[in-house]
């Protein structure tokens, strides 16, 4: 069984995001990028399923410019069997990404798409769901636990009210939540080997995908800075302060 894992190159989670002085976006130049952490979790889950013999082939897919190759190398070091780079230098909308992933899914005859539930740069949380819609297949989002038996996947989802267990027929889309697993340390020999694996390149045009019209960003502003805290000495003072603010 083939599984596709979508991996996105995003600004690293350790980086303090800075808004460009002209408000046109955030600074990405000269800033560390790495694989979106939720995609790392998706990648780890795929590798574990492969180690358990549930799937046989993991195809990592990324969409973007030349530097995205690093992200695919990371996926290969994790244990992806193949890597596909959809080369595109435009801003990729979730719908465009979903169309490309759906096209590859069909072309490869995959049974499973495992994706991060969202990317930490745009926090869109749309692509996985859209792929399921485009392909008209089942989806199990925010997965905290995944089991595959035969032609079915049992997925424990993290929802507001607690945990929800779903059984979905394959093919299906699963999106990974934070607690699904803890991604392994990449070993240097695996990273070295990953350098030598050829990456398959394609384009949106070759996949027969038209890019979705871009959403126009009007303005980017940093969040308001935290105002100074007030120290209170007693519980009564705290209650009074909260009341004064209309919070209690």
């Amino acid at each position: 069984m083939k599984a596709i894992v979508s991996v996105k190159r995003a600004v690293d989670y350790n980086v303090r995001i800075q808004v460009k002085p002209d408000g046109s976006g955030v600074v990405t130049e000269g800033v560390k990028h790495s694989m979106n952490p939720f995609d790392e979790i998706a990648m780890e889950e795929a590798v574990r399923l492969k180690e358990k013999g549930k799937i046989t082939e993991i195809i990592a897919v990324t969409i973007g410019g030349a530097k995205n190759e690093e992200t695919l190398r990371t996926a290969l070091a994790f244990g992806a069997t193949r890597a596909i780079h959809v080369k595109d230098d435009g801003g990729i909308e979730p719908l465009t990404a979903a169309r490309a992933l759906a096209a590859i899914f069909k072309k490869e005859g995959a049974q499973l798409l495992i994706a991060g539930k969202q990317a930490i740069d745009d926090d869109a949380n749309q692509t996985g769901q859209m792929v399921a819609g485009l392909l008209d297949i089942a989806q199990a989002t925010f997965a905290g636990k995944v089991d595959i038996e035969g032609n079915k996947a049992t997925v424990v989802r993290e929802v507001d009210a607690g945990l929800e267990t779903l059984e979905v027929d394959l093919p299906a889309v699963i999106t990974a939540d934070l607690r699904l697993n803890e991604p392994r340390y990449l070993k240097l020999p695996d990273i070295m080997k990953a350098k030598r694996i050829a990456i398959e390149a394609t384009t949106l045009a070759e996949l027969g995908v038209t890019a979705a019209p871009p959403v126009k960003t009007l303005k980017t502003t940093p969040p308001p800075s935290r105002s100074k805290g007030v120290m209170v000495k007693t519980v009564d003072e705290l209650v009074a302060a909260l009341k004064a603010k209309g919070l209690a």
Binding site: V15, R16, Q18, G30, K32, R184, Y185, L188, P189, K195
Partner: protein, 560 residues
């Protein structure tokens, strides 16, 4: 996955290369590129592997920086076409002697030592230059692995055979976590150590191979730097301002240093203070000196109303020529700041670091291409070095640091003006400074406590918010990477004698003394560490040893 535990022998993978380079800074990357260039010229192959402890190349790089392009011109004559990030040419130099918190003198150009003129130089981010050099190195076929720290040297029969990469997944108590991944061995015919100032392996190699026995002790400074978004109307791209004096000594020789303020591209101002680690007052806090320095009118005029973008700190090795150890040992060499090639009279070490890497690469490439099996102490490297402009440059500036140490900022500066401008650095006398920096502290009882002003949150800041600005991070459960040889010394000895200076010299608050009297205890917040190495250098008892934490830990500098 592994079930191994520390008491079991660990099986390590081994990879072999012609040359392994430790550290992705200017010297390591220049050496890697030059090795590949030499191999390509000869139509042969030299395999080169470079490991970098930062999460990416550039993450741990911190420098002023005004960059002299001499070495880059030699390495890539076409660097402009290749898009090297040298965007802002220096347009104007200023040198100030601050005499009090409000007063200062701007020195006329005539009185500025020649080495501090910067025509033809560029204001850059050294981190970004290293990122660019990495791209060139990868394109040339160098294998670069960021996020992997060289933990140990492999020495067999007195020969350095390579390095062992740090293990991942060790718990605080030393046991192996389920995701334990043993570090592999990278073996090489020659290993070049380019860890930067006070490299933890370089330090051991100096001792093990007795490389620095016949020279003056190395001298250091701690550089603290911030990047600012300039306030509207205050940005003067290409303006380079240097200064000395207040808040450190003007006439005295005990506590010296100098500061910089550079106007870079992208509306950024780079501001920093270098405090000589030969300072004598244990109550001195380089961090707080820097914070109050920014309130001086000469600096404040450019910063007030602006926004601090990032913060960081790094020690520099500035002993120069007189402290230069032997460069080679069986199986490898030290290069760059690991060796100590900074030119303190220019306050520049990037071009000299690159050049030392390139000279080494020439020598080692010739040896390898000539069929040398490696493992020897290759004398061709020091021989070529002695014929180079780098040697000449370091020789000419040999007196600069010792003069400041001996005569203070003002009179030492005057000596340097005479030496550099009249004698071209060849004044027929060599000043030596033979007291190591850890031995210069006066006792607390003989020293004046310093009352630092409270930060205002606009120009000056506290340590906690500054640490945050360095984006430093370490996996939290790993063993503490700052080792105390004797855990009792901080409280039993350093506290009564020197008021435990670690609390103040550490620029990110790693060291704290909590409680008082009999309840006093020493706390190490290793997670804050920005790998500046000051503690390893300045501890008066030489009791702190910095070792490499788990790979990719440490600061995540952007554009430093």
């Amino acid at each position: 996955m592994s079930d191994s535990q520390p008491n079991q022998p660990i099986e390590r993978d081994v990879m072999e290369y012609d040359v392994v380079i430790v550290g992705g800074g200017p010297s390591g990357l220049a050496a890697a590129i030059r090795l590949k260039q030499k191999a390509a010229e000869a139509g042969k192959e030299i395999s080169v592997c470079l490991v970098e402890k930062g999460s990416e190349v550039g993450a741990h790089i911190l420098s002023g920086a005004v960059f002299e392009p001499r070495s880059l011109n030699e390495l890539f004559p076409n660097w402009k076409e290749l898009g090297a990030p040298l965007k802002t040419a220096v347009l104007r130099d200023e040198l100030h002697m601050l005499t009090s918190e409000t007063a200062g003198i701007k020195l006329p150009n005539l009185f500025v030592p020649k080495t501090m003129h910067n025509e033809g130089n560029y204001v850059i981010s050294l981190g970004n230059l290293c990122r660019w050099l990495e791209e060139q190195a990868v394109a040339a076929g160098v294998e670069i692995y960021p996020g992997f720290a060289a933990q140990e040297t492999i020495v067999e029969d007195g020969v350095v055979k390579g390095i062992q990469v740090g293990d991942m997944g060790i718990d605080r108590d030393g046991s192996h976590k389920p995701d334990f991944a043993p570090g592999i061995e990278l073996r090489a015919k020659y290993t070049l150590f380019a860890e930067g100032c006070r490299g933890h392996l370089g330090k051991r190699l100096l001792k093990q191979f007795k490389l620095d026995e016949d020279v003056d002790p190395q001298h250091y400074g701690i550089g603290i730097k911030e990047v600012w978004d300039a306030p509207a109307g205050k940005h003067r791209p290409g303006l380079v301002v240097h200064g000395a004096g207040w808040p450190l000594d003007v006439l005295g020789t005990g506590n010296t240093g100098g500061w910089f303020l550079y106007h870079a591209d992208n509306n950024q101002i780079l501001v920093g203070l270098i405090v000589d680690l030969s300072y004598s007052n244990p109550y001195l806090s380089p961090f707080d000196e820097f914070q109050r320095l920014k309130h001086h009118p000469v600096l404040k005029q450019y910063l007030e109303g602006g926004k601090r973008l990032s913060y960081g700190a790094r020690a520099i090795a500035k002993g120069g020529f007189n402290s230069l150890p032997k460069m080679v040992f069986p199986g490898g060499a030290l290069i760059g700041c690991d060796l100590g090639t900074m030119n303190f009279s220019k306050i520049k070490g990037s071009h000299t670091a690159m050049k030392s890497g390139m000279i080494a690469a020439d020598a080692y490439a010739d040896a390898l291409l000539g069929g040398n099996a490696g493992g020897d102490a290759l004398q061709a490297f020091p021989e070529v070095f002695k014929q180079s402009w780098l040697y000449d440059e370091l020789y000419r500036s040999r007196n600069f640091g010792p003069a400041i140490h001996k005569f203070g900022a003002l009179f030492g500066g005057a000596f340097n003006w005479i030496d550099q401008n009249i004698f071209g650095g060849k004044i027929p006398v060599t000043l030596h400074d033979t007291t190591p920096d850890y031995a210069t502290l006066k006792l607390a009882k003989d020293s004046t406590q310093i009352a630092y002003p409270k930060p205002d949150g606009k120009l000056s800041f506290d340590k906690a918010s500054s640490v945050f600005m360095s984006s430093t991070n370490h996996e939290e459960h790993q063993p503490v990477h700052l080792k105390l040889t004797d855990p009792s010394i901080p409280i039993a000895k350093n506290l009564p004698l020197y008021a435990e200076p670690a609390q103040r010299y550490c620029p990110v608050g790693v060291y704290e003394v909590l409680g008082e009297g009999a309840n006093a205890r020493f706390q190490i917040n290793a997670q804050n560490c920005v790998h500046c190495k000051t503690c390893d250098i300045k501890d008066p008892s030489q009791n702190i040893t910095w070792v490499a934490p788990e790979g990719s830990g440490g600061p995540n500098y952007a554009g430093m």
